[in-house]
Amino acid sequence: MSLRIDEGSLFGFLGPNGSGKTTTIRVLLGFLRPSEGRASLFGRDCWGAGRQIRDDVGYLPGDLRLYPTWTGDRFLKLFGLIRRRDITTVGRDLAERFSLDMTVPVRKMSRGMRQKLGLLLALAHEPRLLILDEPTASLDPLMQEQLLRHLRALAEKGHTVFFSSHTLSEVERLCDRVAILREGRLVANETLETLRGRARRRFTIRWVHVKDAADIKPPPFLAIDERRNRTWDGSLTGQTPELVRWAATQPIEDLTIGHPDLESLFRRYYEGGGGEADTP
């Protein structure tokens, strides 16, 4: 795998469960030694200079576990001491924004509250790089939206966000670039715009007569998934103008063309049909 992430970008790291996302993160944080090759952040080796690297990194583990007897305030105080910097001001500000009671011990917090606290601890020292492993898990939709807004604002200030997830929709809402991992290999590393351009659009054609729907032979740029009565459902393998031009000559009652269907593109990548794109 060769992966380079530009500063200030919102980078989505996608892959199905077990594809190696968390393992990659653990290598980047110096928890695991690469069996071969080299991992570096900020130009420094992740295994050899892990301590220095993590000074500029905020990390939210996918399977977040916190010390059960500590309160949010205690976390801020002790983590500030460990980081040798005051994180209480930013931390309390974030707690207010996330509506998090910092006086409650972790054992009495709900899963959502714990996730908020984990995010707060990752963000409080305003790191150059944020590594978030499934950060929206256990968060309600309002909080998810607030988090995404906050991450966008951070990226605008030059912070880099590495957003690992197996859910396309949240990566699509946030990120400007996406890498897709399958069985430990990088199968795509593109901007979201490029992927959208590559994704097929769904279409629905309603014919004037049932006979037309049955008799007319589809052109090569249409892949029909289903024919029922007067309707064709499928995906566009060619360009939209081609379809529009062809449709104008046919006895069609209605034509609907959808947005690029990223979901099915990603499914193809996940299942191994999307092709290899092992590019930096």
């Binding site: 301590r51 993590r54 576990r65 916190l66 002790l78």
Partner: protein, 271 residues
């Protein structure tokens, strides 16, 4: 030295340490008070029981002679299984917290996600462990000094003698802690690490009995941690058992260093 890591370690270990220190003070005080006064009255009868004599000699690691004198009971108060259990419990419970305990409860990611090296984490734990040991044994010493007020002043061991025993016990605490750090550094499960260290100490304890009961076992006496902790000899002579203390410190240091090296180089996976 990272002050935050020290504060974290103190915060997490304080309750157990204070509880064990209080229990040890109480146990040591009671034993030091009860053994010389109550059991002293039955010493002649007790010595006629071969099993009792063997047990006491096994605990003390030395021949108790023809008479149970107050000094013998003072020494017993320092090797009583309850005292050893409390001291070992503190060492085992504390030293298996990192990394096995952190991995086991899943908090290792949070801890190592901070800008600290594994050696910093390991050393901070060790510093607090050594401090907790000092507190524990200081409290035991206070309990002991209060307990022996029941003994006639001329039979009472001096403060210097008590200090030598306590330092010797501290060296054993360090050795057990070093072993626990090493086992913890290798494993993923704290319960398993505790069981392994406990098993080794039980073997050590049983071996010290075997040595008294079965002559061929004497060749293996050096494997028992109790072979290097013999308060009766200290009570009798008041000498510093320098060789034994150095041996215990050497064991502790070797185990601790091996554990640190292993922890610094191992892959950290959650379980």
């Amino acid at each position: 030295m990272n002050r935050g890591l020290i504060a974290k370690s103190i915060r997490e270990a304080a309750v157990v340490t204070v509880m064990l220190a209080a229990a040890l003070t109480l146990v040591e005080g009671i034993l030091s008070f009860v053994l010389p006064t109550v059991m002293g009255d039955f010493s002649d009868t007790l010595l006629k029981m071969p099993f009792f004599r063997t047990i006491i000699q096994a605990l003390l690691g030395a021949d108790i002679g023809d008479q149970l004198v107050p000094q013998t009971f003072v020494a017993i108060a320092w090797v009583h299984p309850a005292v050893l259990a409390l001291v070992w419990t503190q060492a085992i419970v504390f030293c298996t917290r990192v990394p096995a305990g952190e991995i086991d409860r899943g908090t290792i990611d949070l801890l190592l996600g901070l800008p600290v090296s594994r050696w910093q984490v390991y050393i901070a734990e060790t510093v607090v462990f050594l401090g907790a040991g000092l507190l524990l044994l200081l409290m035991a010493m206070i309990g002991h000094r209060v307990g022996i007020l029941s003994i006639a002043p001329e039979d009472r061991p001096g403060l210097g003698t008590t200090l030598v025993i306590v330092v010797n016990l501290y060296c054993m605490f360090v050795a057990v802690g070093g072993l626990a750090f090493m086992v913890s550094s290798i494993g993923y499960r704290r319960g398993r690490a505790i069981a392994v260290v406990f098993g080794i100490l039980m073997f050590s304890f049983v071996l010290s009995f075997l040595v008294q009961l079965w002559a061929p076992a004497r060749a293996l006496a050096f494997l028992s941690v109790l072979n290097y902790y013999q308060p009766l000899a200290t009570v009798r002579t008041g000498d510093w058992p320098i060789g034994d203390m150095l041996a215990l410190l050497a064991f502790g240091t070797v185990f601790w260093t091996a554990g640190g090296l292993w922890f610094a180089r191992r892959d950290i996976c959650t379980v």
